[in-house]
């Protein structure tokens, strides 16, 4: 019975260059159903959402039906609401400086010409909407002052209301990872709202990493892996383990861990009781030449650790011990960290790691200008020839240091920026997603460069969700959940599978002592 289906997607493929991000995927969502969409990074679930939102054009042959009617492909992004689709992304799309009511009515205010807005009526209407969903939101409050939970709730109510306004059918609401940064109590509230929306006849697609949440809120769930549809299951009859198994798959064990062994046993670097809002206390040690990976689901806090250790963000408490010296993390700043042989390569390549509008040579030369100086001053030629030498070693292509950094591909820019820090021969390297958006060849070059640095005695701390990278590159991996380390993997136990499994199980694990 097709009328029973709110959304039906079939034969959906999407190709990026040579890679097939989605391979003949199908998805069907019933009326009044909460449908989970699960998969690890790179499984294709965000590509699927982006096709539905009209960001991507699917390959020919795909079919999308909404309440039995064919939707035009590519889906027209601006009018997607009229088709009966509404999205709430992790970035909620609220304007913090405007009031709750203004945000609620943003769609109308932005598009309709309305020369008289009666604010008293608007506030009343908003209050009635919130009352219907049992929410205690003040229509006059400024959105920036709301808690993260209230903001998420507002964004969801807005999406549901927008659907009611424009579409005859109750509509399909797509929640794209709404929970990772919410406290448990907030998740409950959010679920209550989802149930209320479903009670009014809407359908919800709930995209998440978190198996437990999916099991709690959804009726059925679809699991994607490597762009392929793995299974659509009834949530009630599927165990936690069965979910994890489908998400990770067993075929991937071919990628086995590198099982790197370490010779030195004496800890060289120690982080003691690092804490910050939503994180910690975290303690860890590293021996000379160790590559230590940090991972977890998004929101678990692992990704902020490198920035805190470098002083790029201010930690609340904690100490960093480096050799025989110990210093408080709350007082450390990048200058100090650098002077002690600590370097940090952030994930935001053109926003925090390098300046795209300046030449590669200036970007690479910045930490060693003193070394490049002649008696009468710095010269562009010297900086450029220095960068050319480093670039040749690092395999930067094209190795033309006068090009702006933004002219290089992601992988080559990253090689150059890594070379910028390797040249100072750091004791401790802190890396945040070092191979994100990097092609396969460059990825191997970067791994080799890090291996060489570790062999030279550097300690390397890597925050990443690329499980394959962690398994290949690291001696040990720490898995985070809710701001704490919950599991440590090393030796033969360190495989891509094991890391993924630990991440998806992590929410049920208790913190290690």
């Amino acid at each position: 019975m097709p009328e029973e289906l709110a959304l039906q997607v079939s034969n959906l493929s999407k190709r990026f260059g040579g890679a097939l991000a989605l391979d003949r995927v199908a998805l069907s969502v019933r009326r009044g159903e909460v449908h989970g969409l699960l998969g690890s990074n790179g499984s294709g679930k965000s590509t699927l959402i982006k096709v539905l939102a009209g960001f991507h054009t699917p390959e020919p042959g795909a079919e999308v039906r909404l309440y039995g009617h064919h939707a035009p492909l590519p889906i027209p992004g601006p009018t997607v609401r009229k088709l009966g689709l509404a999205f709430v992304h992790q970035h909620l799309g609220l304007i913090p400086s405007l009031s709750v009511t203004e945000n609620l009515r943003l769609g109308d205010l932005a598009t309709k010409s309305n020369w008289h807005i009666d604010w008293a009526t608007e506030f009343d209407a908003a209050a009635k909407v919130f009352a219907r969903y049992n929410l205690a939101l003040d229509p006059r409050a400024e959105v920036g002052r709301l808690s993260p939970v209230e903001q998420a709730l507002l964004a969801i109510v807005r999406a549901v209301e927008d659907l009611r306004g424009v579409s005859k059918e109750p509509g399909v609401l797509i929640l794209d990872e709404p929970t990772p940064f919410l406290p448990r109590a907030g998740v409950e509230q959010l679920f209550a709202l989802v149930r209320a929306a479903v009670a009014e006849g809407a359908s919800v697609i709930f995209v998440s990493h978190d198996v437990d949440e999916v099991r709690e809120i959804t009726d059925r769930a679809t699991i994607l892996r490597d762009g392929k549809l793995i299974d659509t299951v009834d949530t009630k009859t599927t165990s936690h383990d069965a979910f994890v198994e489908r998400i990770i798959g067993r075929s991937m064990s071919a990628y086995g861990g590198a099982s790197k062994a370490l010779s030195a046993a004496e800890p060289q670097v120690a982080i003691e009781n690092l804490s910050a809002p939503g994180l910690g206390p975290v303690s860890l040690t590293m021996t000379e030449g160790e590559i230590l990976g940090l991972t977890g689901l998004i929101g678990s806090g692992y990704d902020a650790v490198p920035a805190f250790v470098y002083g790029a963000r201010k930690a609340r408490t904690g100490r960093l011990r480096l050799g025989s010296r110990s210093l408080p993390l709350a007082a450390i700043d990048p200058q100090q960290a650098l002077s002690r042989g600590i370097v940090y390569l952030p994930a935001d390549r053109m926003g925090a790691a390098g300046v795209g509008s300046l030449p590669v040579s200036d970007n690479v030369g910045l930490p060693v200008l003193k070394r490049l100086k002649r008696a009468i001053g710095l010269f562009d030629q010297d900086i450029a020839s220095h960068a050319a030498t480093l670039g040749a070693t690092a395999g930067v292509k094209p190795n033309i240091p006068t090009l702006p950094l933004s002219a290089l591909s992601g992988g080559n820019a990253q090689k150059a920026l890594l070379a910028k820090w390797l040249q100072v021969e750091p004791q401790l390297m802190l890396l945040d997603e070092p191979t994100q958006g990097v092609d396969v060849g460059a990825r191997q070059d970067i791994w080799d460069a890090l291996d060489r640095a570790a062999a030279g005695g550097a300690c390397i701390l890597i925050g990443s969700t690329d499980y394959e990278q962690l398994a290949q590159l690291c001696h040990r991996v720490l898995v985070f959940a809710r701001g704490k380390v919950v599991q440590e993997l090393s030796g033969a136990a360190l495989t891509k599978d094991a890391i993924a499994e630990a991440c998806f199980r992590s929410t049920t694990l208790t913190p290690a002592a």
Partner: protein, 349 residues
């Protein structure tokens, strides 16, 4: 003959890879094709300057090709060069300083009041004027950095505040009779036929050029302006760089005030304020030339004299005084438009 060990092979492979990398480097996109446009980008303004002289010279050869016109023009616009040089320092670190012209007027008025009304020595008066300029820069820096207010707002307010101070200390009067010693060393004494003020401006241009181009400090200033977070994470003291740039611009604006006073032998409470726009126009026009895409000292130097040559020429052609506004205002817009084209019309930060 010994058999090669695995290490030998590895070494050979490594050597081959090195050569391959070097070769790939040389293969990469040809730069020769871009040479001509790059060359024109760099020296376009210089050519435009020469063209301007020739075109106006065609109509008014007597005045346009007379050395005396240029000697006077070079000397009397020197303080705009100095003012522009001060301005490009905070512009490089990403802050606007709209108070430079007011600081210049304040410096000029302090010299006149102390020297004429209160009988201070000219040296003491100049010292106090420069100190006042540095203080204005420090005040700007405090509000911009400590409070985190946008520099446009702070310097607009501080500039207007200073205008009030100037009217207050001068009693809204022109104060003339500033020591002739100052007038002598600024405008009356000539070297190679050109007043000394021009040479001061030239020396300062060389100093700023050297700092921007040949010191680590210059690179750090540039990184602070282009990527504050990148600079901070690379260990640059961003606060000190920004504060230093604003204080330097205050001090150099005060220096421009010294030249301005020396040029006229007097100080009036309002005329210096008219130099804000010319300085901005020259700073942005200068950033399209010589080191295109960067605020740079020689570019600013050329831009000031390009604009003042144009105005001089238009005066020779009998244009009225309003052309000055047309030329400077239009110059600013044209300059920024050109630099936006160089940046491929990406939104300005």
């Amino acid at each position: 003959m010994t058999t090669p060990t695995p290490q030998d092979y590895e070494r050979r492979i490594a050597a081959l890879e090195q050569r391959l990398h070097a070769f790939e480097g040389r293969l990469a996109p040809p730069t020769a094709g871009r040479m001509n446009t790059a060359f024109f980008e760099r020296y376009g303004l210089v050519f435009a300057w020469i063209l301007l002289i020739l075109v106006i010279g065609y109509f008014k050869p007597d005045q346009m090709f007379s050395w005396n016109s240029y000697a006077a023009m070079l000397g009397s616009n020197a303080m705009i060069v100095v003012l522009t040089l001060g301005l490009i320092i905070p512009l490089t670190t990403g802050d606007f300083d709209l108070s430079v012209a007011s600081t210049m007027a304040l410096s000029s008025m302090i010299i006149a009041v102390l020297n004429v009304r209160m009988g201070w020595s000219i040296e003491g008066a100049i010292f106090m004027a420069l100190l006042a300029g540095l203080a204005v820069g420090a005040i700007n820096a405090f509000f911009i950095i400590w409070f985190g207010i946008h520099s446009l707002i702070v310097t607009l307010g501080v500039g207007y505040f200073i205008n009030g101070v100037i009217l207050w200390i001068s009693g809204s009067n022109v104060i003339s009779g500033v020591s002739n010693d100052l007038v002598n060393v600024v405008i009356l004494t000539r070297f190679l036929g050109v007043p000394l003020s021009f040479w001061y401006a030239g020396i300062l241009t060389a100093i700023i050029w050297y700092i921007f181009q040949h010191t680590a400090l210059g690179r750090r200033l540039l990184f602070v302006g282009r990527g504050r977070e990148v600079a901070r994470l690379s260990g640059v003291n961003v606060v000190r760089m920004r504060a230093g740039a604003l204080i330097a611009s205050g001090g150099i604006a005060a220096l421009a005030g010294v030249l301005y006073t020396g040029m006229r032998g007097s100080a009036d409470p309002s005329s210096a304020l008219a130099f804000l726009l010319p300085a901005f126009a020259a700073a942005f026009l200068g950033s399209t030339t010589l080191y295109p895409g960067r605020f740079n000292a020689p570019g600013a130097f050329v831009a000031v004299y390009f604009l003042s040559t144009g105005i001089m020429g238009l005066n020779f052609l009998g244009a009225q005084s309003f052309v000055q506004n047309l030329f400077y205002g239009g110059g600013l817009i044209v300059a920024v438009s050109i630099s936006q084209l160089l940046r491929k019309r990406r939104p300005m930060d």
